[in-house]
């Protein structure tokens, strides 16, 4: 449901940016881990949302910004799509920070 309402907002936004007479091919998005959006679910929601509209068939491409983890013991920093993962040093409690970004980057039209 979360992904569906985002797909809905996205469709309205994409419509405003698609010039008249052009056919939309690709939509590029950047999504931060803190948004809690599953890119695959969003792609599915997008397909359903644009079906039977003038945007039907347009592809969604997602650039995903993973969690930034910092180990409080060995200070190692790394990225992970999962938030609760152990550090190589065995520490089970790395601190997590994530981007809350949800940005429409660009469109391909023909």
């Amino acid at each position: 449901m979360h992904e569906l309402s985002i797909a809905d907002s996205l469709m309205e936004q994409v419509r405003r940016h698609t010039p008249g007479g052009k056919r939309l091919q690709t939509v590029r998005l950047r999504i931060g881990a803190k948004q809690g959006i599953d890119p695959e679910s969003l792609k599915m929601a997008w397909e359903v949302t644009v079906a039977r509209t003038a945007l039907a068939g347009a592809k969604l491409e997602v650039e995903y910004l993973p969690w930034q983890l910092t180990c409080p013991q060995c200070q190692r920093k790394w990225e992970s799509p999962e938030v609760f993962v152990e550090c190589q040093c065995g520490c089970a409690t790395p601190l997590a920070e994530g981007s809350g970004e949800l940005t429409l980057l660009s469109l391909d039209v023909e």
Binding site: Q13, G100, L104
Partner: protein, 229 residues
């Protein structure tokens, strides 16, 4: 042909939220967006909070639900400004819901605005309503793994509540696991462990609310804001 856009997908919602935030700031209102799963005790917490603050601060409540006005009826006995927002199919509140509800309130008579979101730990997190703080709520009956399964609400909340601690002897809930997972995602926000029904731990929550409200009111009066919007 490629068209560069670079625009927030929830831009319309965020713009509306910005308007809400400005209205609330001008009116000197401390506002919070309460987010938690169905049954974690959001409405019960608000009822108990209203009961304690009634007559001391001017209170207003917006309650989001898919349907029914039951929650609003429950709270109306403690607070004269309660607006029910029925979202229909919607699994979360959006900024325009709050904007409309604000139009049905007299904001010049409000010190604290409570916005109870639709019972859901996921969808409401990404939608800014224009509130000053987000409060994420859990309960021990949901299990100690909920922060790990719902990291977004934990990372985004300015305060966290763990309700139903009176039931700890009866449920498999490891407090150290819960607290550790919370702190991995959010090192700074206060965590209030309480029981709405029994009343334990409620004092800390109430003190925090009053301190936040006093700070908001002080900022508004420094800014020379009028009480009207």
């Amino acid at each position: 042909m490629q068209i560069s856009v670079v625009e927030n997908v929830l831009k319309l919602n965020d713009e509306m939220a910005g308007l809400n935030r400005e209205s609330l700031r001008k009116a000197g209102i401390f506002s919070l967006n309460l987010i938690g799963a169905p049954g974690c005790g959001k409405t019960a917490l608000l009822e108990a909070t209203l009961q304690r603050l009634a007559g001391k601060r001017r209170l207003a409540v917006m309650v989001g639900d898919l349907a029914t006005a039951r929650d609003a009826e429950r709270m109306a006995q403690w607070c004269d400004q309660v607006v029910q927002i029925n979202t229909g199919r919607g699994c979360h509140l959006e900024a325009h819901h709050v904007r409309q509800a604000m139009g049905r309130m007299d904001l010049s008579r409000v010190d604290i605005l409570f916005i109870e979101n639709v019972g859901n730990l996921i969808c409401p997190v990404g939608f800014d309503l224009g509130q000053q703080v987000k409060v994420g709520m859990f309960s021990v009956t949901e299990g100690d793994d909920k922060p790990a399964k719902h990291p977004y609400i934990v990372a985004e909340s300015e305060a966290l509540i763990l309700n139903k601690i009176d039931l700890l002897p009866y449920v498999p809930f490891k407090m150290d696991v819960f607290q550790r997972d919370v702190r991995q995602l959010n090192t700074h926000s206060p965590l209030f462990e309480l029981s709405v029904i029994k009343g334990n731990g409620m004092d800390g929550w109430i003190h925090w609310l009053l301190a936040q409200q006093a700070a908001t009111a002080a900022r508004a009066s420094e800014g020379g804001a009028s009480a009207k919007v």
